[in-house]
């Protein structure tokens, strides 16, 4: 674990990568849930 920390500390680009990836997963999850909600409303 400490080696991963050292790696990330010297390669800040990978921290950016992780942050962007987390944001993208969040946006994708939100859009999926929105899609489901709209489908439910359409069926009503």
């Amino acid at each position: 674990m400490s080696s991963l920390y050292d790696f990330l500390e010297t390669n800040s680009l990978y921290i950016v990568l992780l942050i962007v990836l987390i944001i993208w997963v969040g946006i994708f999850g939100y859009l999926r849930s929105l899609d489901k909600k709209i489908k439910k409303l359409e069926e009503k």
């Binding site: 680009l13 990978y14 950016v16 990568l17 962007v20 990836l21 993208w24 997963v25 994708f28 859009l31 999926r32 929105l34 899609d35 709209i38 409303l41 359409e42």
Partner: protein, 220 residues
């Protein structure tokens, strides 16, 4: 939209993020690692142009058929175009801070995108100012067509005829793409992935607007 398409969008954009940031890129003078912004900034700009043109297309369809669904589609596409235009401006401006020294310096590129944002901002102001549904749809459709006509001028022509600090466009004046093959692959995947994302978001927006329209017409 089909489930597998949404998962494909997830995979493509995740791959673009991972490969775009992790793959080594050739040393580009004065840009270095900052060149990676092109995987995100250019697709945002491309989608805003696409969305504005789609909005124009739906406006033309509305004026021909007077079908309100087209007005909803035109409005939804213009909204997404505006959102992606803001994202293109923000990513460009952040990049400018680290390459040119300040977030905003009225470079021809920045000025033209700013004017474009003002033009579409006026479109939303126009829509919100008219109460009558038919009148709103008619006027905003005409406005959307006129606004979209200015898009190629502000995005493609003006920055090319005025001296700008902005790096050479992807498709430069010689009509050639000067890009390393791995960079080009990631870049093209980014274009495809973000375009699919835009189409998905447009689909969601249109469906939500239609539900809203139905609800409003039921309460009237």
């Amino acid at each position: 939209m089909k489930n597998f398409i949404t998962y494909a969008i997830f995979v493509i954009i995740s791959a673009v993020i991972i490969l775009g940031l992790a793959l080594p890129i050739p040393d580009i003078p004065a840009l270095g690692d900052k060149a990676r912004v092109l995987y995100f900034h250019v697709p945002m700009s491309w989608i805003s142009v696409l969305a504005f043109f789609m909005s124009m297309w739906y406006s033309i369809r509305y004026l021909k058929t007077r079908d309100h669904n087209y007005d909803i589609k035109s409005y939804s596409s213009a909204q997404l175009g505006f959102l992606f235009c803001i994202l293109a401006t923000a990513t460009g401006s952040l990049w400018a801070k680290f390459s040119w020294g300040s977030f905003w310096n009225w470079d021809p590129r920045q000025t033209s995108i700013f004017i474009l944002l003002l033009i579409y901002g006026a479109y939303f102001a126009l829509r919100s100012a008219i109460e009558s549904e038919d009148q709103r749809a008619k006027l905003s459709s005409v406005y959307s067509i006129i606004a979209a006509v200015t898009v190629p001028f502000f995005v493609f022509i003006m920055p090319r005829i005025v001296e700008s600090l902005h790096p050479d466009p992807i498709l430069n004046t010689q009509g050639k793409i000067n890009m390393d093959s791995s960079m080009l692959t990631v870049f093209l995947s980014a274009l495809v992935g973000f375009t699919m994302l835009y189409l998905w978001m447009l689909d969601l927006k249109i469906r939500a607007e239609k539900l809203n329209y139905k609800k409003l017409s039921l309460t009237d």
